[in-house]
Amino acid sequence: MKIVDFIMPETVPDARAALLELGESGIPAAGCTAFQFYADGPARTAVLLNRLDLAGICSTPEAFVIGAGTPLTTLHRFEAEGWALNGVVAQIASHQIRNISTLGGNIARVFPWADLPVALLALDGKILMQGKDPRTYTVDEYFKTQPTTLFTTGDLLTSIEVKPLAPNTGFAHIKQRMKSESFSMSTASARVTMKDGLATSCRLALGACIPFPTRIGTLEEALAGSDPSDRPALDQAVTAALKPLSFLPKEGMTKDYIRHLAATTLADAVEQAAQDAQRRHS
């Protein structure tokens, strides 16, 4: 993809207007770190979003509201009760990438290895977009398929709302990769609510090892009311839930092994989220 021009609008309406005028030849640009992975295509004009004041995190009782233009590093450094994204971001790439990549850029177009969609599916929340009018998607709606299909020309992500972890709820996010900065082979994210040693409900998501990040609804149902520390039972439930999924070979390893890795990682995430819930509760 060749960039032949760039524009630096100062407001969201200006950015939208520019994108609408450019049509096919315009492309929203924030950190631009993903551009090297775009295939060759028509020449584009980059519409920079960094001056739109879309960066920052603010806490409300219901949600953390994160500007789409927030660099990943900001998510890593942010600390608050119920905030869970630090550990997720720490496992993404290298600091140079985290310093410039934005949350919006990470989820506007989902690459197979993407980390944040998996975490957001588990944590639950909303994605806010500005078109002619603002509209909101739940994370489940947004990540149902490749989100680029939800955008029409000129649409921009403005913010992402993430639910804080309740006191009886824990979270774990495990990314299996060859070296620390590598793309994921298998990412598992688990949010587990515990009561009296049993998981009352959970949100579980898997990514990288399968063609598109997804929640594992059948496993969530199977685990309701179960004891996550019973590992053999947990493994059995995970294996059964993953049976219908197709796995991808990774790093020269077979899809059969990746299936096994994904299953183990998902079970580990459930186990660790449950332990995190006990810890947060006490």
């Binding site: 070296k179 620390s180 900065e181 590598s182 793309f183 077979t254 092994y257 890795l261 183990t264």
Partner: protein
């Protein structure tokens, strides 16, 4: 030889003389020398693993905007040569043309364009019209050796310049072997015998600076090549041959370079930039992209090693046999010498009366093996050190004690030394310095070897294991390689030291400066070191075979001694005393009667005052043995038996390099080599598609580690004194990369009772081994 305690410069961690300049980011590397009007080269690489070029039309490319020169087989000299940076005549086949009518791997040269900008050069590549006749590709050594296999090198000009077997019609690049004692009988009669085959993988050196060269024509019409090379003199000679121009028309200069590790012991870019400079009269600059570095650059040879060993109940190794098949890829440079080192640098480590070694080197249509730190010993130690552990296990002996019982010692020889050289017979050698016993003891203490428990007692998901290996290498290629040095003195008592020896970042400029300063009784600050310029520095084979300290260092020491004699001669004249009565110390000559003259006074006298002459001299050196450094490596790891993932807990690397001329630099070599060995063992691999193209040619999916994954690493220099080396030194740079794969494999056994026969130890490989064991 001087007593170690008396060293004032050597064995001190003096500051690396280029350290500050590099830390400041000052212009130092080839890319920094590029003028703004240099032409940029882009190469059209073969998309096919094996094909004839039936037609090629560069006419459209030649008229593209900004294009100044286009080269392909139709307009370049057809001079067969070898790209390997080795002495002449090379122990490698001449099987390469600058551009050929045939391509032999995905990444082979097809055509090159020089244009005003890299973008214009890329655009011109797109309009070069090539038609290929596809040939059956050969992707395995087994296929290559079948009687009906396609012949990869069928050019009539292919030949080998030394009298060794070369059978390109059978895809055989070389054959080498040796026998000692009665191997077959000893194996049959051993209490326990073992027969396992191991495979080692492709890997790339990944210097952070990719291959890069620039050429221009100077005012007198000579070609000046500034290049990132380990072998400036070999490069000059090979460029001369390839272009068909005399050596005297070429100057090769190596500035600071960004790492080599063996990859740049090759003439890979220089011929193209030189020819283009001659044809255009312009500066011509060529830097490979990282993907090109992986696909078209040199690699580590993948080698299949069948190791057969026999051991007695009492721990005596009675039979040691190695059968190696070396996949050298599409071209044969370094193939014979690498596989020879599988034998020569590994088989002597343990005393054994019955030794068998047989090796073949085979062409395939895959990326080309070259020189890579360790040079065959790396591959062979994985196999042999795994099997050593296996033998110890069989007889119920601690693998550390087993090694202690059997390893070579000072005063020992080995029939291997005499039999296996590099392309010819070797040199007999008796081990001089050997502190391997101390390496083992100190390393074991540092890792806590006594904490080891058998794998049979381990339970639970996460299991720790401790493993070890022993290593040796060599120092220089005796009787073959030569290095030389020249020293001249200046008014203020400083010296210019000029050496052909090549500093890749290894610090050889500093180390050789230290050796000179020690011999001259002066300080490192007084040494002005200039290296690796074929016009201005004396000859040196270059940086390989762990030679620079042991070989080039001795040339430097000898030159310094000659210059010292001149200095004292002048001092004797100045003080009117016999020269024998003088002693040199601290840049000063002292007479027996208490008078003194400083080096500055001496030089001012010699340059300006009486019987004037330039105090200067030179010396050359060839070595007569290749004294091994020795090492013992230990690793502690934690294995997740649910996934096969390995977490490194700590690593201990001990090394006996003789006298460490610069201890911090010697540690630095060891630390860097260990890290390289670790990722080679665990995460580095070449993945190929069905057409023979590497699919993971990027640091995003060829995994070498950052500081984030650095394990706890302890390095211990164990001193010894090698009488034949300058101030007792041997070498240190290669041996350190050989330990990680076998030590980890042995630690895996200690953790979970599994042994792997190939690596990298990906989680799947380890997990499969765990499942196998359960059956």
């Amino acid at each position: 030889m001087m007593k170690k305690e008396a060293f004032s410069v050597v064995n001190h961690s003096v500051l690396k003389i280029d350290g500050l300049q590099l830390a400041l980011g000052r212009k130092s590397y080839v890319a920094d020398l590029k003028p703004s009007d240099a032409l940029h080269v882009k190469m059209l690489w073969s998309p096919h693993a094996h094909a004839e070029i039936t037609s090629i039309d560069i006419s459209k490319a030649e008229t593209m905007p900004g294009v100044c020169c286009v080269l392909c087989h139709t307009n370049t000299p057809r001079n067969i040569h070898c790209t390997a940076g080795q002495g002449f005549p090379e122990p490698s086949p001449y099987d390469t043309f600058m551009f050929d009518k045939k391509v032999r791997y995905v990444g082979d040269r097809v055509a090159a364009v020089a244009a005003e900008t890299p973008e214009q050069a890329e655009e011109a590549l797109k309009v070069i019209e090539v038609t290929y006749k596809l040939l059956e590709p050969v992707f395995t050594v087994d296929r290559a050796l079948e009687p009906d296999a396609p012949i990869i090198h069928d050019e009539p000009e292919a030949c080998i310049p030394i009298p060794v077997p070369y059978e390109p019609e059978h895809n055989i690049v070389a054959k080498v072997g040796m026998e000692s004692g009665e191997f077959d009988q000893a194996l049959a009669e051993a209490d326990y015998s073992f027969d396992y085959t191991y495979e080692t993988p492709y890997a790339q050196h990944c210097p952070i600076e990719t291959y890069i060269s620039m050429a221009h024509i100077d005012a007198r019409g000579r070609v000046v090549i500034e290049t990132s090379t380990q072998v400036p003199f070999h490069a000059r000679r090979i460029v001369a041959r390839t272009l068909g121009i005399p050596v005297r028309q070429i100057r090769v200069i190596k500035p600071r370079i960004g790492g080599g590790f063996g990859s740049k012991q090759e003439m890979l870019l220089e011929d193209v930039v030189a020819l283009m400079a001659l044809r255009t009269g312009r500066h011509v600059f060529w830097q490979l992209t990282r993907a090109e570095n992986f696909r078209t650059g040199r690699t580590r040879h993948p080698i299949r090693l069948r190791i057969r060993t026999g051991v007695q109940k009492d721990g005596t190794i009675t039979a040691l046999g190695m059968d190696a098949i070396n996949n050298t890829g599409a071209y044969g440079g370094h193939g014979l010498t690498v596989v020879s080192c599988c034998g020569s640098k590994v088989l002597p480590l343990y005393r054994c009366d019955n030794i068998h070694f047989d090796a073949r080197v085979v062409y395939t249509n895959l990326p080309v093996g070259g020189a890579y730190r360790g040079f065959g010993a790396t591959q062979a130690f994985f196999a042999v050190e795994t099997q050593i552990d296996e033998m110890a296990e069989a007889i119920g002996m601690d693998p550390l004690v087993f090694r202690q019982k059997n390893h070579i010692r000072s005063g020992d020889g080995s029939p291997v030394f005499q039999a296996l050289g590099e392309g010819k017979e070797g040199t007999p050698m008796t081990i001089g310095s050997c502190a391997l016993d101390q390496c083992i003891i100190q390393g074991a203490a540092a890792i806590g070897w006594e904490r080891r428990t058998p794998h049979t007692e381990k339970t639970g998901r996460y299991r720790t294991g401790i493993g070890m290996c022993c290593l040796m290498q060599g120092s220089s290629v005796p009787e073959i390689d030569m290095g030389a040095a020249a020293i001249k003195m200046n008014d203020d008592g400083s010296f210019n030291l000029t050496i052909g020896a090549t500093d890749l970042g290894t610090g050889s400029d500093t180390v050789l400066g230290q050796i000179a300063a020690e011999a001259l009784h002066t300080t490192i600050e007084q040494m002005i070191v200039y290296s690796s310029d074929t016009d201005l520095t004396p000859f040196d084979v270059g940086a390989y075979a762990s030679s620079t300290t042991y070989l080039s260092g001795e040339a430097v020491r000898k030159a310094a001694v000659k210059v010292l004699n001149q200095i004292l001669g002048v001092a004797a004249e100045m003080l009117e005393v016999p020269v024998e009565s003088l002693e040199a110390r601290d840049s000063t000559a002292f007479s027996a009667d208490g008078r003194q003259v400083t080096y500055s006074e001496i030089c001012l006298y010699a340059l300006y005052q009486k019987n004037q002459f330039q105090i200067m001299d030179s010396a050359s050196h060839i070595t007569h043995k290749s004294p091994p450094p020795f090492a013992a490596h230990f690793v502690e790891l934690e294995l997740d038996t649910f996934t096969g993932r390995i977490k490194l807990i700590q690593y201990v690397a001990t090394v006996d390099c003789g006298t460490a001329i610069n201890p911090k630099l010697a540690e630095g070599q060891t630390e860097g080599g260990v890290m390289n060995g670790l990722s080679y063992a665990l995460t580095e691999q070449y993945l190929f598609d069905s057409g023979g193209k590497m699919t993971n040619a990027s640091f995003h999916n060829y995994h070498i580690w950052s500081m984030r994954d650095k394990p706890i690493l302890k390095t211990i220099l164990v001193p010894s004194y090698e009488e034949t080396g300058p101030f007792g030194a041997k070498s240190v740079s290669e041996i350190c990369i050989n330990g990680a794969a076998p030590a980890i494999n042995n630690a895996l056994f200690n953790a979970a009772g599994i042994r792997l026969r190939e690596f990298p130890f990906t989680p799947e490989r380890v997990w499969n081994a765990l499942q196998e064991k359960k059956k």
